[in-house]
């Protein structure tokens, strides 16, 4: 069953333009120049109940604008959106009871209150009876390990503790869909891992659908089974994570340390990335040249050490962004 449906969703912003200098400032008052920016350009996709979806793209690609349209914050200029059978533009308040949102760069907690008081606050905001809120706080405090700082004012918490509290505040009313906009931004690797594990656990145990945007490839790789990449307001890729890796991981990086400095023979499917003294780093396109044949190009007698690795997902995603950028320019 689909819980999110977007059909030709579009949003255009009208941005005021100003020429440089005093003359430009005066002109902007007398004859304002407006530039139209197509932030989201007719995108269509759907998300199934319980799915964990990564919705990613470079800055300005239209990710947050899409989230804001799906949560009813922005009105679309075209197309339609449907979240849990509700039109976000028409019934924003009704939808608010069914969804949760965490914007990594925006605090929703009251910083002078304790997490406990904040959770009570959000329980009341979502019309949850006091007794139910209490039991929900106990349950989530346990899951997210908040016990030691539940009664410490939010302003005194570390960023990691605060983000955990932000997520809990979004879950107090048992939302069916959780929108996470860069939830791990600014966190250290250990805390990131912790947050990811908790999100995974929440999805597994509560069946909450997760709609995630992040620039952190670790978030995407470790949490999501499906990925949508947007660029310039359009979807450039909608695929499963496994499929993406299968398609794009046909390139291997080989790093070899040789006994004596030797030039790498040229061959189809081999791209030399770096050679410094006896150290060589090259890429093998296994679709064109099987890895065992590529390794035969190195003299085994001369080999001291070797490391073969997949292309990082980050590089794959960057390549997809760049490829799209090139196509845009070509058009």
């Amino acid at each position: 069953m689909n819980v999110i449906e977007a059909e030709n969703l579009a949003k255009t912003f009208r941005v005021r333009q100003k020429e440089k200098g005093m003359k430009g400032s005066l002109q902007a008052i007398l004859r304002p120049r407006i530039k139209e920016v197509q932030a989201v350009d007719g995108i269509s996709f759907s998300v199934e109940a319980g799915e964990m979806l990564a919705f990613i793209g470079p800055n300005g690609a239209g990710k947050s604008t899409t989230i804001k349209m799906l949560t009813g914050i922005l009105y679309p200029d075209g197309g339609r959106a449907n979240v849990l059978g509700i039109d976000p533009a028409k019934q924003r308040k009704r939808l608010a009871y069914e969804i949760g949102t965490v914007f990594g760069q925006k605090e929703q907690l009251w910083t002078h209150l304790t997490p406990y008081d904040n959770f009570r606050f959000f329980g009341a905001i979502y019309d949850s009876p006091d007794r139910e809120t209490e039991s929900r706080i106990r349950e989530l405090a346990d899951t997210f390990e908040l016990g030691s700082f539940l009664n410490t004012p939010v302003r005194n918490l570390s960023l990691g503790q605060r983000i955990r509290c932000e997520i809990v505040a979004s879950l107090i009313h048992r939302p069916k869909v959780l929108f996470l906009d860069e939830p791990t931004i600014g966190l250290d690797p250990v805390v990131k891992e912790n947050i990811r594990a908790l999100i995974k656990q929440m999805n597994r145990e509560l069946g909450t659908t997760i709609f995630l945007t992040s620039h952190d490839v670790g978030d995407i790789e470790k949490l999501c089974r499906r990925i949508i990449i947007v660029n310039s307001g359009r979807i450039v890729l909608d695929d499963s994570m496994d499929h993406l890796k299968h398609h794009y991981l046909n390139r291997k990086i080989v790093e070899a340390k040789l006994g004596e400095e030797t030039a790498l023979p040229a061959a189809e499917g081999i791209t030399l990335l770096k050679q410094k003294g006896s150290q060589v780093r090259f890429q093998v396109d296994t679709g064109r040249l099987p890895i065992n044949e590529a390794l035969h190009l190195i003299d085994a007698e001369n080999l001291e050490d070797i490391n073969i690795s997949n292309i990082p997902l980050e590089t794959i995603i960057t390549d997809i962004y760049k490829a799209e950028g090139r196509e845009e320019k070509a058009v």
Partner: protein, 269 residues
């Protein structure tokens, strides 16, 4: 049913602000210094203006006039307006409103609940301070009946709420223009100069109907007049004016907000 209009959540917002404000009681008390200086200046000014305590200026004796100014100044100092002015304008300009709108409450009522939470700590503190200053430097207000004081309470609250709603309406201009602060400045100065320093009766007779038509009448004059010189006729007149003003201001606020959010521009990223 509009669940987001339920009173419970606004009570919780109010309570949360009260809890926050209590942590700032000491810094609120620091504001007493400038308040006391202003009150002292006005006491000296009116002492100079009145040649004898029994003299009447525009129908007010000296004690009534000084208490009138002290009451309006107490309301002015005791109701910090940033929540409905700078914060709202900032929310709109900076896009923070988008995140607040996503919650199941009405943004305008959320702001009003926050504002009420803020003044309900600060106003009593300033009222107590004004009471002390008044009794020491002017003496008790003659002919003050506790019943009149009690009757004036809803008028004071209504006046403060009308002021907040009007300021919210002005802040909503930020949906259309870059900066609503100049309009806030004009409105503040209208209240401060025309409303808090003198009663309406001190203006020339030709101007008085005009002043009565402005928010000054319902926000400053009404509450202060009823405390210093209560009459049932005036009470009903002011209550009626406040009801009409509040109804119109609320209608305008909801209208502007409804129109404004459709124009909302929020940066993506």
């Amino acid at each position: 049913m509009n669940r987001h209009l339920g009173i419970r959540k606004y009570r919780v917002i109010y309570r949360s602000v009260v809890m926050e404000s209590l942590q700032y009681a000491a810094s609120i008390a620091m504001g007493f210094i400038s308040f006391a200086i202003i009150i002292f200046v006005f006491i000296q000014l009116w002492n100079y203006m009145y040649s004898s305590p029994g003299e009447l200026i525009a129908g007010y004796n000296k004690a009534q006039m000084i208490w009138y100014v002290m009451i309006t100044e107490t309301i002015w100092f005791g109701t910090p307006s940033q929540v409905v002015t700078r914060q709202v304008a900032g929310d709109i300009r900076g896009g923070n409103i988008a995140y607040l709108m996503g919650k199941p409450y009405h943004y305008c009522l959320y702001c009003l609940a926050k504002y009420t939470g803020g003044w309900s700590i600060q106003l009593p503190m300033f009222a107590l301070s004004a009471l002390g200053l008044g009794i020491v430097f002017v003496g008790p207000l003659p002919d003050l009946s506790p019943l009149a004081l009690l009757a004036a309470v809803p008028v004071v609250i209504a006046g403060i709420t009308i002021d907040a709603v009007l300021r919210l309406c002005i802040s909503m201009i930020s949906f259309w223009i870059e900066d609503s602060n100049p309009f806030q400045w004009l409105y503040s100065k209208l209240l401060l100069v025309v409303g808090t320093l003198f009663p309406v009766e001190i203006f020339p007779a030709a101007l008085q109907p005009l002043v009565k038509f402005t928010p000054v009448y319902t926000v400053c004059y009404g509450p202060a007049k009823l405390i210093v010189d209560f009459s049932m006729e005036k009470y009903l007149e002011i209550l009626l004016a406040q009801a009409l003003y509040l109804g119109a201001a609320l209608a305008l606020m909801f209208y502007l907000y409804g129109k404004g959010v459709r124009k909302l521009y929020v940066n993506g990223g």
